[in-house]
């Protein structure tokens, strides 16, 4: 984006006229904010200050305005390329284990002992309705009730299954593949859940036997 020279001059003059009480420029404030963030945190347990080093997907989504289309496209392309599909094309695990993971909001905080995915939950109900029997669900993400059923998966041999399963796996692995600034954690990419855990959550969403699809 180009700013006309006359505007820059006018703004600079206005700033000068405002004198000592003038505010720093937006760029200066950005620098000050970054400095403040650096100096305000310290390591605690497994939560180290390197968690503040942003990748593009984080830094470009750190304001009240979305990134440019070009940047968003780059984030999505990189996210898509990062996805590891499951070994042997085995997408589904055990929906009961998936439900337990969906209920579990633990993991990766400074009060947690280990960064091993086995110590982590999926946090799903914090943001999504999933099994209708659970009344304590969040609304930051869409309802996932009847997730598989609504997408035409009545049995696992249905032709709808393969593309939906792949889409869902990618979404769970790295949600930025479909929305650059998605609110959803990148469960596979960031090592929050392992392959088996992802399969279990996949089963909760897609298995026709899962209570989610009744």
């Amino acid at each position: 984006m180009k700013t006309p020279h006359w505007l820059v001059t006018a703004l600079a003059t206005a700033a000068l006229l405002a004198g000592c009480s003038s505010m720093p420029s937006s760029a200066e404030l950005d620098a000050k904010a970054n400095q403040a963030i650096k100096s305000s945190f310290r390591d605690q347990g497994i939560a180290k200050t390197d968690r503040l080093n942003q990748d593009l997907g984080q830094s470009a989504c750190s304001s009240d305005k979305p990134p440019s289309d070009a940047v968003a496209d780059k984030i999505m392309a990189e996210a898509l390329a990062s996805v590891k599909l499951p070994a042997n094309g085995q997408y589904l695990g055990d929906w009961k284990a998936g439900e337990r993971l969906a209920q579990d909001g633990r993991g990766m905080t400074w009060t947690d002992a280990s960064t091993d995915p086995k110590a982590n939950g999926g946090n799903c109900y914090n943001c999504h309705q999933i099994d209708k029997k659970e009344i304590s669900y969040g609304t930051i993400g869409p309802s996932l009730w009847n997730y598989g059923k609504n997408r035409g998966i009545n049995d696992l041999s249905s032709p709808a299954f393969a593309p939906i399963a792949q889409y869902t796996w990618v979404k769970l692995w790295n949600a930025k593949a479909f929305a650059a600034c998605s609110n959803m954690p990148r469960f596979g990419y960031k090592g929050l859940l392992n392959e088996q855990q992802l399969r279990d959550i996949m089963a909760l969403l897609l298995d026709p036997k899962s209570p989610v699809n009744q």
């Binding site: 209920q103 909001g105 633990r106 905080t109 109900y125 914090n126 009344i135 304590s136 969040g138």
Partner: protein
Amino acid sequence: MHTRREMLARSAKVAGLLAAAGFLPMSALAAWPQAAFDAKNMADAVKALGGTSAPAESKDVTITGPDIAENGAVVPVGVATTLPGVKRLLLLVEKNPSVLAAVFDVTDSVEANLNTRVKMGQSSNVFAVAMMNDGKVLYASKEIKVTLGGCGG
């Protein structure tokens, strides 16, 4: 000089002896009723508190509490009855490790209407019990759902 703990232990023993001899006065309950708090269900708790008849459900006993508790750590509950001749009111949580939560020995100077807050480990029936002077044991129950909280909860 006796410590309070020794005194309590002693008065418990004395109360036990008195009870065995059939001389249990009201004030003997100054010692904490350990057996009642160890009980695993309502009937046993009532028995441990000297109740002689089986608890019967009654519309004359009221239990108050929310249908849903946002957090099980603090659940407001109340027990009340309009019947005259109440000796003791109890609050119990069916699925807690210690079922009995509170015992209130009421006098004529207070209304048979008490409110407190209990902990609940999970969704459970909560019982309000009125032990009457005539030996009747009446109760009301209510299911209270305990929900899971956000984030790590």
